[in-house]
Symmetry: C2
Subunit: 303 residues, 2 copies
C-alpha cells in the first residue's frame, strides 16, 4: 500500500515563452492534467481512501472526483460506488466503470443526488460517504500540491475555485511552509458564490447549480471545512466570464501546447480579466485538470 506521496505524480511545471510574450507577464503553469486520472482530484481521493478505515466508499460525482476515487479504491482494494446522473457523458461513466467502481445511475428529475446517496449509505455496510471537497482528508490530500508549489518562488498563486477543495488545500500547503505568495481564487462569474462569500465574510450559496462551461466549478456553495481556510487564506477571488474561460483554454492550446478542461483554464482566465494587476510579479497558474470531451474542445478551438 503506497503512501500518498508515493502514489501521486508530481505536478508538471510548464513555462512558455509565447505565453509570456503574449501576456507580457512572468507566468508559470502548474499542470495537474497529467496527474493520475487527469486531474488534481486524485490527490484528494487517494488520501481519503488510504486513511478512512471503511472498506467501502460512496460518492456522488459526474466528473473528476468520481474517476479519481474509483481509481484510488482500485489501487487500495476498496469497494467504490459513484452516483452519476444517467445523462452524464458516456465516456465519463465508462471511465469510472473501467477503474472498477460500481456506477449508480439516477434520473435527477426523479431523485436528487443527495437523496440517492443517503439511500445507498443505508444499504452498503461499513460505507464512508465522501464529499469531493468538504472533507478534511480531501483538503489534506490537495495540500500536497501546495507543498510542491512552495518549492518555487512565486509572488502570486492563482487557483480555480468551485467547492473550495483545491484552493483550501493549496492554502494549507503554502501556509505550513511559510510561503510568502498571495493566493488568489479564479471562479466562474456565472457561479460566483465564493467571491460573494469572501466579500460578505460568510458562506453565500448560489440559488441553483451554475451553468458555466467550467463544469468542475458548478458547485452551489463552498464547503464548511474549506471556508474556514479560505476566509483567511485567500486574498481575493477573481470572477471570470465564460467568454474568458473559453479564450484562456484556447490560448493554453495555442501558446503552451496544453490541453486542459475549461475549469483548469480559470486561472489564466483571471489573468485575462485584469492583467495589469500582475505586472512585475512571478505568477503560478494552477491548471486543475485536463478531462474535456472532444466535441466541447473542438467548439472551444473555433475561436
Amino acid at each position: 500500500m503506497k503512501s500518498l506521496l508515493d502514489a501521486i505524480r508530481p505536478t508538471v511545471f510548464i513555462e512558455s515563452e509565447k505565453l509570456k510574450t503574449f501576456t507580457n507577464l512572468d507566468l508559470t503553469i502548474a499542470s495537474e492534467t497529467f496527474q493520475h486520472t487527469g486531474s488534481f482530484k486524485f490527490r484528494a481521493a487517494y488520501n481519503l481512501a488510504v486513511h478512512v478505515g471503511n472498506d467501502a466508499i460512496l460518492t456522488a460525482s459526474s466528473g473528476n472526483f468520481g474517476q479519481a476515487l474509483a481509481y484510488a479504491c482500485q489501487l487500495l482494494n476498496k469497494k467504490c460506488t459513484v452516483v452519476m446522473p444517467e445523462n452524464s457523458a458516456k465516456v465519463k461513466i465508462e471511465a469510472v466503470k473501467n477503474y472498477g467502481a460500481t456506477v449508480d445511475l439516477i434520473d435527477t428529475k426523479i431523485i436528487g443526488r443527495g437523496t440517492r446517496v443517503s439511500q445507498l449509505a443505508e444499504q452498503i455496510s461499513d460505507v464512508y460517504v465522501a464529499s469531493a471537497y468538504d472533507d478534511l482528508f480531501v483538503i489534506e490530500g490537495n495540500s500536497t500540491l501546495g507543498d510542491e508549489i512552495s518549492n518555487r518562488d512565486f509572488d502570486v498563486v492563482i487557483s480555480p475555485i468551485g467547492g473550495g477543495g483545491l484552493i483550501s488545500g493549496i492554502s494549507k500547503g503554502l501556509c505550513r511552509s511559510g510561503h510568502r505568495a498571495e493566493l488568489i481564487g479564479a471562479e466562474p462569474l456565472l457561479g460566483n458564490d465564493a467571491a460573494r462569500s469572501l466579500r460578505a465574510g460568510k458562506i453565500i450559496a448560489n440559488e441553483t447549480e451554475p451553468t458555466t462551461i467550467a463544469d468542475g466549478a458548478r458547485t452551489v456553495s463552498l464547503g464548511k471545512h474549506n471556508w474556514e481556510i479560505i476566509k483567511s487564506g485567500v486574498a481575493e477571488i477573481i470572477e471570470v466570464s465564460d467568454k474568458r474561460i473559453v479564450e484562456a483554454t484556447r490560448i493554453l492550446f495555442a501558446l503552451a501546447n496544453l490541453k486542459c478542461e475549461p475549469t483548469g483554464a480559470l486561472s489564466l482566465g483571471a489573468i485575462l480579466e485584469n492583467s495589469d494587476k500582475f505586472k512585475d510579479k512571478k505568477v503560478c497558474l494552477v491548471v486543475s485538470g485536463g478531462n474535456v470531451d472532444a466535441e466541447i474542445y473542438r467548439r472551444i478551438l473555433i475561436g
Copy 2:
C-alpha cells in the same frame, strides 16, 4: 551564456492508466511538447548555435527547426535568418519573427529553398548554414534526450523519423550509456524512405516531398550523418499510415490529455499498426512536438 544542459528543459514523462488499459501495453510517453518552442528541435538548435563560432546562422524551415533556431539565436545574441515559403501558416511566420529572426519569404514555384539559401549564404557575412538534421551539432543536441531516456528502464524506445536528426541523437544517447533498449523508428507510410533505406542498407530518397499529415517528417531523404548512426543503431522502422497517425493523435488527446502534432503521434501510431509485437515490454514513446494548427487539430478530433 547557458550550457546546453542548463538551457533545455527536461523531457516530460507521462504515464496514463487509460492508455495502458486501451492498448493493454506498458507504455510511457516522453513528451517534448513542453520543450522550449514546443518541440525537441530546441535541443539541436541551441547546441548548434552555442557551438558554431559564426555570428549569423541561416536555415530553411517552415516548421519547428526555424522557431527553435530563432529562439536559440535570440538567447545567444546571434543573427538568425530563416527561409520560409510565403504560403507557410501565418502563425508560424509570426512565431519565427517574434523570436527575433529575419524571415525570408520565397515563392517556391519561382525559387527552391536550397537555391535561396545559397544566395543568402553569399550575401550574409560570416554565416553558418544549418541543416535541421544532417549536422553533427544537431545530432549531439538531440542526444541529450537519449541521455534522459537512459535514466529509465525500457525494453523498447520508439521515435518518429523524418530526416533522422532525432532518432540518431537518441541512438547516440542510448549507446553511450550502454542502455539495452531496442530503438525503433516510426515513419509515415506516405514518405517511407527511411524504412526502404534500412531494408536496402543504403540511403534511398523519396521521389518527391511526401504529402503525409505528419509535416515534421516530410523530408525527401535521411541525412548522411544521420544514416551513419541509423544503419546500425536502429533495429527497425515501422511504417505508419496517415489514418493511424490521426487516430494516435486523437487517442493521446482523449486518453493521455496530451496535445501533440501529428508527427509526434507517429510512435503511438507504430504501436497501433502492430501492438502484439510489444506485449510484455516496457515501451517508451517519444512524442517529438506539440505545434499544430487549431484547424488541423479540430479536424483530427472529429474521429
